[in-house]
């Protein structure tokens, strides 16, 4: 190996862990800022960590299924309002059963909420797999449809509920960890397993690299695509259930502000627009980076609108990193 190639491969491995480095750097930045400005710690406070973890969980729930879709070379924009639809449907079912509905009613309401999400996923999958609609356009269509459907069933307003069980689901903790975080961690583990240790995962990567490779290997690509979009809708739906639990209300736009963050998390985590690349671990780091930025800016007293600017910049950096990977490998990444 020549020195030049050694240098290139070192740079390449640095680029592969850049998201870790980046996470470390922004944590260090906010820590130093906090020490100088307030004399307090930023990183080593349970409240701060918990807030970051909860914010990251919200992003992750939209981003987990999306990771698989993007690795397969597609995109799912509908998740923003799939979350809202699931949130509204869950709230409506709880309201319909009655104000003091117990756990059973909440679980039933969750089931119906997820069912609504699955319908969106099935429509997406059908459009992309059977009608060959490009996923960007198809899911942009269902983004609008899910948005409208959520607003229509909610009567255009936020559906507030009174349910102790639902509130406990959204705000309680398990062994000291907030429920949203526990749910996100469990789903992350499940999706990591799916993507790296199962035949399904191999086929998702292969589909992202070359559709012909999977098709000629005898894999039913249409089924695979439908499964991908349903999984994406289900994780987004779970995000909606948690929203309704946390805020005791279902809102049609529950997921809308998170959509961009979810897409960003997947790309910051190492996925590529052309597909075939990306990991669940990367998406987890991506979501954490965004959550740190969000919370850190609020913590440092800047107007909250700066978070949009900061996350936008991080997305651009992520794309630049992806492109320089291509250059280092002669465009073969």
């Amino acid at each position: 190996m020549t020195n030049q190639r050694k240098g290139a491969s070192l740079a390449k491995s640095l680029l592969n862990i850049w998201s870790w480095l980046f996470l470390f750097l922004i944590l260090a930045f906010f820590e130093i800022y906090a020490q100088i400005e307030t004399g307090n710690t930023f990183v080593f406070r349970v409240y701060n960590l918990q807030s970051i973890a909860v914010a990251a969980s919200q992003i992750l729930l939209l981003a987990l299924g999306l990771t698989l879709v993007i690795v397969a070379g597609h995109i799912d924009l509908s998740i923003g309002f799939t979350t809202g639809l699931a949130a509204v449907v869950m709230a409506l079912v709880i309201r319909w059963i009655g104000p003091d509905s117990g756990w059973l009613a909440v679980i039933l309401a969750m089931g119906v909420g997820i069912f609504a999400a699955v319908i969106v996923g099935l429509v997406n999958g059908w459009l992309v797999a059977h009608l060959n609609v490009p996923s960007f356009i198809g899911t942009l269509g269902t983004y609008g449809i899910a948005r409208g459907a959520a607003l229509i069933v909610a009567g255009g307003a936020t559906v507030s509920i009174r349910s102790d069980a639902a509130r406990a689901f959204g705000n309680g903790d398990i062994l000291g960890f907030p429920v949203p975080v526990v749910v996100a961690v469990l789903l992350s583990l499940l999706f990591h397993y799916l993507l790296t240790h199962t035949k399904f995962g191999v086929h998702v990567y292969a589909l992202g690299a070359s559709r012909a490779s999977v098709e000629r290997a005898g894999v039913d690509v249409q089924k695979l695509l439908i499964a991908l979009f349903v999984l994406s809708a289900v994780t987004a739906g779970v995000g909606g259930l948690i929203y309704t639990g946390r805020f005791s209300a279902g809102a049609a736009n529950a997921g809308e502000p998170i959509l961009l963050y979810a897409v960003a998390a997947v790309f910051i985590g190492g996925a590529s627009l052309t597909g075939g690349q990306g990991t669940v671990m990367g998406t987890v780091i991506g979501a954490t980076i965004i959550a740190v930025i969000q919370f850190g800016l609020v913590f440092s007293g800047l107007p909250p609108y700066w978070q949009f600017v900061a996350v936008g910049l991080v997305i651009i950096v992520a794309v630049l990193v992806d492109q320089s990977k291509d250059k280092l490998t002669g465009g073969r990444t």
Binding site: Y193, T196, H197, T198, K199, G201, V202, H203, Y205, A206, G208, A209, S210, A212, S213, V214, R216, A217, G218, V219, G276, Q277, R332, T333
Partner: protein
């Protein structure tokens, strides 16, 4: 050597357009038959009628004496005919092992949970590649890091590993540099030594003469001529490709 594949009077019409009018030929065990012809001569259509993608309008294909016509592409594959397309159908982001087993992955259990057995698939891939005389530098690296010849070897390894008795190769050297073309020619030699029959599609004359035991020239949907490389030359093959009478 016994007859492996027999194509009898193949004809294919698409609407009013007759892509293939009358093509018959045989392939024996361990024999490399080259289907030569200009663009539009009907080579690809003939291949697709064998691999099950197209159903012939007339005529049949027999494989080991059994009727092959009417089977699905999957049926043809499991009968022992593997088609290697120009794009190789590889997933560039996966390692050789996963490419070898794509669609038929090996699993193992860890604490009762089924997981991919990547190590075993890598080992098998390295082994089959070795039997083709190709050393894979890093079995865990994605196949996009390999040379064109090595990638071709993975596609061929896939055919051997799944016990193909006949391999159809569509312009295998079209996108390769000269040293890699030689590698592929050597691979074809090793396949033949294993008793595998080969149908090679090509319009590259040096390849045709290097690989063929028999050359079947297609011109405008019919067999324009059949020659052994030793009894013909470039000029005659080109003349036959252009559709001159025999």
């Amino acid at each position: 050597m016994s007859v492996l594949l027999e194509a009898k009077g193949l004809k294919k019409r698409f609407g009013g357009n007759e892509a293939v009018s009358d093509v018959s030929f045989t392939v024996h065990e361990g024999e490399c038959v080259v289907l030569a012809g200009d663009n539009g001569a009907g080579k690809s259509t003939v291949i697709k009628m064998i691999s099950g993608v197209h159903t012939p309008t007339e005529g049949q294909v027999f494989f080991n004496g059994e009727l092959l016509t009417g089977k699905t592409p999957e049926g043809v594959r499991s009968a022992g005919i593997e088609t290697i397309y120009q794009d190789l159908s590889l997933a560039d982001n996966l390692d050789p092992g996963l490419n070898l087993y794509l669609g038929r992955e090996k699993m193992r259990r860890v604490l009762g949970i089924p997981v991919l057995d990547r190590a075993a698939m890598r080992r098998d891939a390295a082994e089959v590649m070795k039997s083709l005389g190709i050393e894979v530098p890093d079995p865990a690296a994605p196949v996009r890091d390999l040379s064109g010849g090595q990638r071709q070897a993975i596609a061929i390894a896939r055919a051997i590993h799944w016990q193909a008795k006949l391999v159809i190769m569509d312009e295998p050297t079209a996108a390769l540099g000269v040293p890699e073309q030689r590698e592929v020619m050597a691979l074809i030699g090793r396949l033949k030594a294993k008793g595998v029959g080969i149908i090679l599609i090509s319009h590259n004359l040096p390849d045709i003469f290097a690989a063929a035991d028999r050359i079947i020239v297609l011109a405008r949907g019919v067999v324009g001529g059949e020659r052994r490389p030793s009894e013909t030359n470039d000029e005659e093959i080109v003349r036959l490709m252009m559709g001159a009478s025999v």
